[in-house]
């Protein structure tokens, strides 16, 4: 009985999953603004508060770099941050346990000992007075440190508590500086440092704007993945961020700062899966099939897409041109892979791509490799990359208890496409694979490490296909051109940026807000800078909903 009922349940689940997938992917896309208010004024969009977020590993590393001048990346040894979908700053998934707390404790110990060493450049900034000669030195030192570490002015009670810790250490026989160091370490184990605390005024159940310190922190962790710098902190101290002109000037300044590279290294790298390519245990290449591949080539692939996304961000290019455009980057290794002349000197250089074989993100070796199988291409993974990362319509995970394809359907001599077509003949599979696989088939002229190929080991390549909406394509350029015009693309860019900026998934009732961001993005000619500016001025970014 158990066996039969389990199988029946499995089949029901399977069919339901397949239908769910078809509905999700096949749904028409609403045009921007279509979900707005029916008549008159703007829709009332509820404010959702991000769950209390702790610093993730990157943020911790960057924060201690800026706070203490310590570039040793201590958080690399911390437990990995949860990645529920694409980004590792999702507050709702974060946990703290004793293991992590002990890491915090020992990192604080090492960091403060290093920062206060006599030769440390950070020492004079932290300890600018004589603890022995001046009774005000200790509280002043603690106040200045806590102001920076906690991203807001500490209260008198809080300084008293830190000073009491230092006094207890002195009473236990520690000298003045050893006692101070214990208080400084404590400030780094404090929840005020480890969490990005946002408070609601007492009794405030109503939506209200963030205070300047909270807003500055949201801004700096979004744009820099780090703490506010002195200038931004000064603006917050002055209460100047409430002034829209000052606020926007700060945002522009921060975007032009080298620390905004975190938008490339963090947001861009995770969005475009470069972090997965960079992990050699996740993206493993069979070098008997691809003897050209080595760690150097892996690095070149990452560098290409990193420079590419960086250019779109810094130069404020039309983000849709990432699908089809003439911008490219090339170094000696990639030139050999792509069959192009190497740039002078061999280092990564900006080039104009041919627009035939190479014309954007989907023709870059990073994307083509990270979605492959290590020894062959994977049309399914390539299609899934587009659906999940570029169109924000991820297929659901494969249904559990999926019956395997019957063995006779697998012919080892068939092309990948012929083999995978079995997916499309099985009712249970076609719902999802019918969307993913055809897009991947269009990319079959690019092998498992992104080389162009005329045929698949002598077998002809059929790169034709059709999208669920009926649009037909022959080859990747035609597919990429369709995707470039797909209205889901700018909406998805907005959604990904929102998710990263706020460390939370947008809620269903926030669709009008996403639509608004998408409109702003479109109005700017699809420039990422405009999206960032619209996002940081949105109520979702600047306000809290209030304590429940």
């Amino acid at each position: 009985v158990g066996s039969i009922s389990a199988r029946s349940i499995a089949l029901v689940t399977l069919v339901a999953a397949a239908n769910a997938c078809a509905a999700k992917i096949g749904a028409d896309v609403t045009s921007p603004g279509a979900l707005g208010a029916a008549d008159g004024g703007p829709p009332e969009i509820p404010i959702h508060d991000p769950p209390l977020a702790r610093l993730n590993r990157t943020e911790y590393n960057n924060t201690v770099r800026d706070l203490l001048g310590d570039a040793t990346r201590p958080a690399d040894a911390f437990p990995i941050d949860p990645v529920p979908s694409i980004f590792d700053n999702n507050a709702a998934s974060q946990i703290v346990d004793e293991l992590l707390l002990e890491e915090y404790e020992s990192a604080a110990d090492r960091l403060i000992e290093t920062a206060l060493a006599t030769s440390s450049p950070a020492r004079t900034r932290i300890l600018a007075c004589d603890l022995g000669a001046d009774a005000t030195c200790l509280p002043r030192t603690l106040r200045a440190f806590a102001r920076r570490a906690w991203r807001r002015p500490p209260t008198d009670d809080e300084i008293a508590a830190l000073a009491a810790l230092s006094a207890a250490a002195s009473a236990d026989g520690d000298d003045a500086e050893t006692s101070l160091k214990q208080a400084l370490k404590a400030a780094l184990v404090s929840p005020n440092f480890l969490y990005r605390v946002e408070l609601d005024p007492t009794g405030a159940a109503a939506p209200h704007p963030l205070d300047d310190f909270e807003l500055a922190a949201r801004l700096s962790y979004f744009l820099w993945s780090s703490m506010p710098d002195d200038q931004l902190s000064d603006r917050a101290d002055q209460g100047a961020l409430a002034d829209p002109a000052t606020y926007l000037a700060e945002v522009r300044r921060m975007l032009d700062d080298p620390k905004a590279a975190s938008l490339v290294d963090n947001f861009g790298s995770q969005w475009l899966a470069l972090n997965k390519l960079a992990d050699p245990s996740v993206t493993v290449i069979d070098t008997t099939v691809f003897p050209e591949f080595d760690e150097g080539l892996r690095g070149s692939m990452i560098a290409e897409t990193r420079a590419y996304f960086g250019a779109f961000l810094r130069e404020d290019l039309d983000v849709r041109d990432m699908l089809v455009g003439d911008l490219g980057f090339l170094d000696q290794r990639l030139a050999a892979l792509y069959g192009l002349p190497a740039p002078a000197g061999g280092d990564l250089a900006r080039i104009r791509v041919d627009g035939v074989r190479r014309f954007g993100l989907l023709t870059q070796a990073s994307m083509l490799t990270v979605t492959s199988q290590g020894y062959r291409t994977s049309p399914t993974r390539r299609g899934k990359y587009i659906l999940a990362r570029l169109l924000c319509t991820p297929p659901p995970p494969p249904p559990p208890k999926v019956p395997a394809l019957p063995p006779e359907s697998v012919d080892p001599n068939a092309t990948i496409r012929q083999r995978m077509t079995a997916h499309l003949h099985a009712n249970a599979c076609v719902g999802c694979h019918g969307s993913m696989d055809p897009m991947g088939f269009a990319m079959e002229h690019y092998d498992g490490i992104g080389r162009f190929r005329d045929d698949d080991e002598g077998r002809p390549i059929d790169a034709t296909g059709q999208l669920p909406n009926g649009a037909k394509f022959d080859g990747l350029l035609q597919l990429a051109t369709l995707l470039k015009q797909d209205p889901r693309l700018p909406g998805c860019v907005a959604k990904q940026m929102f998710t990263y900026a706020l460390g939370r998934d947008p809620q269903s009732d926030e669709q009008p807000l996403l639509d608004g961001l998408t409109s702003d993005l479109a109005a700017s000619g699809n420039r990422l800078r405009a999206l960032v500016l619209a996002l940081v001025q949105s109520r979702a970014f600047q306000w809290r909903g209030g304590m429940p």
Partner: protein, 448 residues
Amino acid sequence: MSSFAISRRLFLGGVGAALGLPLLDAVAPSGRRARAAGATPPRRLVFFIVSYGHPEYTVPGCFRPADAGANYTLTRCLEPLAALKGDVSILSGLQNWIAFAPPGYDMNDHPSLCQAILTGVSPMNPAARSTAAISVDQVAANYLKTFTPGLPSLEIGTHVEGYVTDNFSWRDETTPLSRLVEPLDAFNRVFAGDDPAATQAMLERRKRRRLRILDYAKADLDRLQRKLGTADRERLDQYLTSVGQLEDRVANQTVSQCATASPPGAYGDIQEHATALLDLIPLAFQCDRTRVVTFTLEANSDNAFPFLPAGYQTFKHHADLSHAGQDPQKLQGYVELTRWKVSMFAHLVDRLKQTPEADGTGSLLDNTAVVFLSEMGYGDGHIPGTLPVILAGKGGGAFHPGRHLVFGDENPYNTASPPVTNLYLNLLSSIGLDVPRFGNSVGPIADL
């Protein structure tokens, strides 16, 4: 001592009541139990967890021996145990179908299966990280912590998937335990505070410094809690709990009189990584630093294994091997990978067998139970039936290894086979903790 007065929540009360378990007793062994728990040499448990089951359902005979009893023939996957055949028993046919969440929960199978394998309780509300159950390793840790308060249990593994429900060990119904991945970190955790050069007074002073900081953090947290909304306050409870636990451990840490072990060095591939972690276990046991270890080998990873035989080296653990479908090359790759997992288990068992007890009476393996298990049996189907289970060690005389024991048939969909939680009753009993039920257990296995 007021600086580390313990104000942490008492986890066991509620859970013990919910499960009908006399778990509060577990906090303080007494009477006959105290004799077993406090036995010399100590009793210990190791949970050795691999993910995605085995390929037995699609490649029959690759794992499960055809014959039962003492004279069974080792299968391809089990061959690495050849030299240890008398030290292990193969337990076939156990299941953990309780893992599947009640209908209506929209969740991936993997978290349910992982959360449930050591709890024997269906995950009730994964979004809130509530499995409503403490895991069996933590029950054992709570029971034995009287003897190793500095480190009641050690959770280590070669891989951590970046997702919150990738957890096997649960301290209570809402607190999953992270695992350490770096061998050096694990070494430091086991041997924390060891400093042969320091005097007792210096060590005491270091301890007081740490406790002052933790005490401050708790007070700081209390100040903050009062200003937060309900949801954020609950999130900070995790932090408060963690501070309490760390205080407890620091306050109880002792310095080893045991021969100083040298820290592990750098490792290369996954095999070296796993070996470095596994080799810490006999060290920790010999110095009696902890008595409970949960080790996960590539749990939930999608890594490839370049050291497998040619032809299988780029296959990814999850996408290609566990979901091999009917692809003969991948299926054979999965057999080879499973064989490798068993070989790593064999490495640990052998190390425990080769390491004498500190008092010279026999080997660590004589007084330890090491269980190989997975959150599922038929990996491609995510089916928690016909789990791969291997029990090694004598558990202080509780077990008589060297046999293939058959408890259920070869059908992974058979939900009527005995639950794996029955085995947990035997494991707990071997350390001196007799409980009538754990999770969905029916009763202990009669002859192990």
